[in-house]
Subunit: 84 residues, 2 copies
């Protein structure tokens, strides 16, 4: 395992699971007032493109990480749009 792997795998893990507590909090409290709609619109679109990028380059880590994040970010985006 290289130095890159030792940083890259935990990095991918953390930035993916980070959206679990946010999606859970937003779902449970329905308090979306401090959440930026443009952030989640841009971010969800970006993650969808990362997902497509993973498919094109055939990278299962990119597909998996961004597939999970896409679901979680979409939940927050949808709750934010519903809460307006």
């Amino acid at each position: 395992m290289t130095m890159g792997d030792l940083l890259g795998y935990p990095a991918a893990f953390l930035t993916t699971i980070a959206f679990v507590p946010q999606a859970w909090k937003s779902w449970k409290t329905r308090d979306l007032s401090g959440i930026s709609l443009p952030m989640y619109a841009l971010f969800t679109l970006g993650v969808a493109l990362w997902f497509g990028y993973g498919i094109v380059i055939g990278s299962m880590p990119v597909i998996t990480a961004n597939g999970i994040t896409l679901v979680l970010a979409s939940i927050v985006l949808w709750l934010k749009i519903s809460a307006r």
Copy 2:
């Protein structure tokens, strides 16, 4: 320019600049109630590791994108901690 580039560059751009409206909104309104502290703690740590990963593999796009996101996510994390 490959199909991968056509997806990867806008993907990196969108997931990086997405944090600008969130950091701005959080800074201006100081409304952090809907923001998940665990999310920003995990995410900021993960982005810091991505930044280190970029240095180790010598990837300027990874360094640049995660350097910008690190600053923006740190602002939201710091505002959230201060607001408690």
